[in-house]
Assembly symmetry: C2
């Protein structure tokens, strides 16, 4: 079985073995060693020396945590959205009472840093800017370095959804000045879903001190205080910590630069292969993602049938989300993935396409 | 190793094997079958036909979800607290803007239903009553049937923290009229931490429709809508669903009545054994919990040393939380536990006690 959706990603055998380890006391010395070790070893992948906290939740929980730990109701926020997950980030801020100015970009395109700069200048000041680094729903990677440069010319906090980028695509948290970066265990980390990791800059902690959105489970100050004792405020998903510790070993052995290069090679191979099948990429070429590729479904192909035929042949890819359902398919190529895996996916796609064409009757 | 804390609980081999299963697509047919199966099979253990939703989070996340899905800022809430986790439930409601009237009971004692009735009559009306069924921090089980009877004489919603009770101690959700019951995977379910399960009555859904506390990740309406498609709003902790499905098989084979009886036998054995060692139980006898036993630490015994000596001998039990740190030890006996396990714990405690006595010098 080839699981090639943009997360959850396949688990290496060593990670699966780690998942099966017996439970331990989450208030004991073994867990303290575990969380301290994992926290320390995650930071180089975020390229940060900021605080890093791990919460038991999906990545969406991490987005909510980023918002409620730094903002107050009424705060003006610029939400740069290039798709489904950008919309989600904006919606969370709005629901918790932020005054959200949304900068929406046509799906398939990246945000233009100059447009972000103009919004900052003309509609600011903002307390925070929300940006998705890699938009999983469209397969587009924003030029976060350039966007961050514009944000850093203002006093706004920069909250970055790095869920499908960190650990797979380079994200220089400190160099670029990202105040909060959110990740999720089921992406490049090769760990099942259930942990979200967040970095907090000095400026983010300053904002935390005065932020008034209600928070309890997501309270990163409590998480930081607990971490000083090698603990978490609520019972942590211990099995996933075991898995993460193991996968970090695999990732360290390969190294971040090599991991990013492998992701780029796999992505290039997907893009070339898809084009060779006569299909069109959904993302603009200059910003095509190295972790997920969205492909336009031709008019005469039934997307649902295509996914089903591929699944029956042992290759699981994803469909479109929201308004893109039926219009695109998405191939995940992050985490435990090689060029040989990509070749299998492409071969399965090639075999499935003719079987998924709409019959004249079904049209 | 004997892990005898009140959660996480030990994992049967079959559950550990389930944890190690390869990832699947959380938007595919396999997961739909999995979540539908697990949801349906959980309900008999909650003794309910209400909706049941599963969120990726610790039990504390479930408490937060119960609050924000049913209440609005300014709502008057009666929080019956008999310990640390009752305080936590109250604190969550307060943080999200409820007007909390707290009915605190001396640690080690259960709430008196007559006192609850008086509070309801004299300080009401209340929008909701928050109650802990089994207080993990003190080893006390409230008479929830009697408390619920009082609450049901009013219009207040009854939100029940059943985290360390459901599945181990009988909790008749529907018969007693509990509107929301919260559970956590790492307790009697024999699954690692990371899932919280909540039941929602018709009245709870009515409250949901008008509740105005901000919610996104915890939104149970979204969870219910996603469940109709066999999905979850955010990426679920798939491995823990695998584990839960397997553990439900074990639990069904034994049956709820037999599980509850086994927990009672184990608890009785702990209580007798502890008394036989000359130690005093912390909980009042009539309300001693069948899932966790708190034991007073004698004046001349160093609690931290006692825990350490026992851990080094292969038996892990818990200390006291908050103000009870150093004053009590807690033995968990829920989930995968037999009388033989209890005997090992008692033997380890007997051996450790003399080694943990304070020397005159250290006093």
């Amino acid at each position: 079985m080839q699981l090639r959706i943009p997360g959850p990603t396949p688990l290496p055998d060593a990670v699966r073995e780690a998942l099966a380890r017996p439970m331990i006391n989450h208030r004991g010395p073994e867990f303290a060693e575990l969380i301290n070790d994992v926290t320390r070893r995650l930071k180089p992948f975020f390229q940060t020396s900021n605080d890093l906290l791990i919460l038991t939740a999906s990545g969406t929980g991490g987005l909510e945590a980023a918002v409620v730990n730094t903002l107050s109701p009424g705060d003006r926020v610029l939400a740069v959205s290039i798709g489904y997950f950008g919309d989600r980030f904006a919606e969370i801020a709005r629901l918790f009472g932020a005054e959200v100015v949304k900068l929406s970009v046509e799906p398939g395109r990246a945000a233009d840093p100059a447009v972000v700069a103009r919004a900052l200048a003309e509609q600011g000041p903002f307390k925070a800017v929300l940006v998705t680094h890699n938009e999983t729903s469209t397969g587009v990677t924003n030029d976060l370095a350039a966007i961050a440069r514009e944000v850093r010319r203002t006093d706004a906090l920069l909250l970055v959804d790095g869920i499908s980028s960190v650990g797979s695509i380079e994200l220089r948290t400190d160099e670029w000045g990202c105040d909060v970066v959110i990740a999720g265990s089921q992406k490049g980390w090769m760990v099942p879903p259930g942990l979200t990791m967040l970095t907090m800059s000095r400026r983010a902690w300053d904002a935390y001190a005065t932020a008034r959105m209600p928070r309890f489970y997501w309270d990163l100050g409590k998480a930081r205080a607990a971490l000083e004792r090698g603990q978490t405020p609520a019972t942590p998903a211990i099995s996933l910590f075991f898995a993460l510790q193991t996968s970090l070993g695999l990732m360290e052995r390969e190294g971040l630069a090599a991991i990013a290069a492998r992701h780029h090679r796999c992505a290039e191979r997907v893009r070339q292969g898809v084009r060779a099948l006569g299909l069109e990429l959904f993302a603009e070429e200059a910003h095509a993602s190295d972790t997920v590729t969205a492909v336009r479904v031709p008019e005469d192909v039934d997307a649902a049938r295509l996914l089903r035929v591929m699944r029956e042949s042992g290759v699981v890819i994803a469909g479109g989300q929201g308004a893109l359902a039926g219009r695109i398919i998405r191939i995940g190529h992050l985490g435990w993935v090689t060029e040989a895996d990509i070749d299998e996916v492409l071969a399965a796609l090639e075999r499935a396409l003719p079987l998924a064409r709409r019959t004249p009757l079904a049209r």
